[in-house]
């Protein structure tokens, strides 16, 4: 990948040797045999002096080093691939250059593991000396990386992790707000997606709604955001919240409980395989005949919709994008994507990667490739605006979170027999995420 990784590998080889030296003691203790030849490994530990790294001189002509942390293994591997594809598509379209500098993109695996991601971040910052970072799918991992990113004053363009706290400011000494002036998010927050849904459901779908959501931070946060506007608009929550653990494959335990609430609709927060299984089993257990599904758009996103098929039909969801969004930028994006990546369906994650790459390029162009003055660079990111597949892209300067137009969508069958999220409306104004916790 990067040409630096070679040197780094050498470091680690030495490191392993150095550690090897530690072993010598007990071995010798254990065997108490002549020990003459064993000084060698101990000697290698010390003189790995080679590593005097000269400070990077920031010349506009030097390559711009972009680090990314995205999942390529474990459960979110598909999302990592989508985001990477979207980024590749945009970077290719500008010949991998911005502001006169080539973009040297160093990829690390998020692996759905905070410890591995923290190691990757350390490597990117301390070893590769990146100028900027992007990616991060899992909100929990994002919260783990937030402190070191903020400490390192690392400009960050987050392309998924949607937990509300990331761009919120803590007031009155509240420790929970994780806003950082260096961290931007170009994807969404859970508030932006689920808050506009509540009132709309109460008015247009039903005032008797049950709740079923993945039991983890992002799921319960989304439920709260939905409830706030739903009850304010006169809706009633039926029964207790039903919260299956994240990663549930068999929802058969929960489906009879949902049926027992006698609600007319169920707000459902699931994504990935959970969403696929939930929607299919909801139909298999006959609930679809009496209840409508409403939820955050990930429930029926294109990564799971083909597997859900007719089971997803008529589900109402909100999201900041859809394949059916009829604007020229989106049409071109989807056509280009299909041509470049024929084996991978375009989805909202690919769109976020595409936009993240564009934000990075636009900001670099704005400062003409000169990243030496960090406040200028951050200002340039904050000011980026362009025509995105989702509509006009613009950051909220108070929170560094994207301001999203939210679309109301319903799953319908298209002309070719497949299923898609048809757009049936949108929020009157674009949605800003609140500034404070």
């Amino acid at each position: 990948m990067s040409n630096l990784s070679l040197t780094r590998r050498d470091f680690l080889k030495k490191l392993a040797l150095g550690a090897g030296a530690i072993t010598v003691v007990p071995i010798l203790e254990a065997c108490a045999a002549p020990a003459a030849p064993t000084t060698a490994p101990a000697a290698t530990a010390a003189p790995t002096v080679a590593a005097v790294v000269s400070p990077t001189v920031l010349k506009p002509s030097a390559p711009f080093k972009l680090g990314s942390i995205l999942p390529y293994t474990k459960v979110y591997a598909g999302l990592g691939e989508s985001i990477t594809n979207g980024m590749t598509l945009y970077f290719d379209s500008v010949n991998n250059t911005a502001g006169g500098r080539t973009i040297d993109w160093i990829k690390e695996d998020e692996a759905n593991d905070a410890q591995i991601s923290l190691q990757a971040l350390t490597k990117l910052i301390q070893q590769d000396k990146i100028d900027m970072i992007t990616g991060i799918v899992n909100t929990g991992i994002m919260y783990a990386l937030r402190t070191p990113l903020n400490d390192a004053k690392m400009p960050s363009v987050i392309s998924n992790a949607g937990g509300n706290l990331l761009t919120r400011k803590g007031v009155n000494g509240n420790l929970k707000g994780l806003y950082s002036p260096y961290i931007f998010r170009c994807s969404f927050s859970s508030y932006q997606i689920s808050n506009p849904l509540g009132g709309w459901v109460a008015q247009n779908v039903s005032k008797k709604v049950a709740i079923c959501a993945s039991n983890y931070g992002f799921g319960t946060e989304s439920v709260a955001d939905f409830k706030a506007t739903f009850t304010a608009a006169g809706g009633t929550i039926m029964g207790k919240d039903i919260l299956p653990p994240l990663g549930t494959t068999d929802f058969s335990t929960y489906l009879p409980q949902i049926a027992a609430t006698n609600a007319e609709a169920v707000y459902s927060f699931f994504s990935g395989s959970d969403a696929l299984n939930y929607v299919k089993q909801f139909d298999q257990f006959g609930l679809k005949k009496t209840m409508k599904i409403v939820g955050a758009g990930f429930l029926t996103e294109t990564d799971v919709l083909p597997g859900q098929g007719a089971s997803a039909l008529d589900a109402y969801t909100t999201l900041h994008w859809s394949t059916t969004l009829d604007n020229p930028t989106n049409q071109k994006f989807m056509a280009d994507y299909a041509k470049r990546f024929p084996n991978k369906e375009v989805d909202v994650f690919a769109m976020a990667g595409f936009d993240a790459a564009r934000i990075i390029v636009e900001a670099l162009n704005a400062v003409k490739g000169d990243t030496s003055d960090q406040s200028k660079l951050l200002d340039a990111i904050r000011a980026v605006t362009f025509d995105s597949p989702r509509g006009t892209f613009v950051f909220d300067p108070n929170t560094n979170n994207v301001i999203n137009e939210i679309y109301y969508r319903q799953v319908k069958q298209n002309a070719s027999g497949g299923y898609e999220n048809a757009i049936i409306g949108k929020t009157p104004q674009p949605i800003k995420d609140p500034e404070n916790v």
Partner: protein, 306 residues
Amino acid sequence: MGRPVRSPLPRIPMLNLTPDFLLIQLLNGLSSGVLLFLISAGLSIIFGMMDVINLAHGSFYMLGAYFGLTILRVTQSFWLALILAPLLVALLGLAGERFLLRPLKGRGHLDQVLLTFGVALVLADLVLAVPGWGGTVRALPAPPELAGSIPIGKGQYPVYRLFAIGVGLLLALILGLIITRTQIGAIVRAGVADAEMASGLGINISLVFSLVFAVGAALAAFGGVMTAPIVSLQPGMDADTLIRALIVVVVGGLGTLRGAFWGSLLIGEVDNFGRALLPDYALFSIYVIMAVVLLLRPAGLFGRKT
């Protein structure tokens, strides 16, 4: 709404404990239990007979499902997938036993753990690397003739799950008969009791080991194909299933088919009702049951006392 039942325990959500509701929940527990049996049966016998902790057993389950997916795509037949995928995995199991496990004979559990963990890592990554398999979550639809639901009380129940229960119980019965009534079953039982003595009786024990290992792998793969229409395929399915199967094996007792069977049903039902009754601790209930069983009966429900 039916009358909510007052419960003496705190934090239990008010559920509609109608007979319908209970019946459906019982069936849910039963369907996941019998499917779990297919995976844990092989694990338990292999453990009891060969003294092998096979952490790659979940990978057999996963590979079965993904082979099934490909066979279904090519042949459009779920039934062919259900037959061919286990055969392919059985061959893989044979090779693994012959070339990886057998050379480790007499080396202790820690080496087996490291070896089979390494194999599981490689296989999980293989699934991600094969185009059309990993990365994205995949659905394997039930055969059209079993796709619908039938009414049970006021609710509906998917036909496929009833079919899965039937197949699982039938297989359990067949396996039980083989173990208790046939000569090969007698050899396996002798092997579990004392492998050295069995070989002393002139039985080609390493051939029996190979066969048992292959059958165990095939059963897990069969379970993978059977489960796929219910829960879909995704990276990580191997590890989750392995842990559940290990729990079944120790709860039932190492090396007993009966233990694997009743252990599977127990874990299936406990997991299901645990999720319904103590939703906050859904991840927790099967571990509590395992701990309780082990503290009361340290060798599992049907295990021999050591």
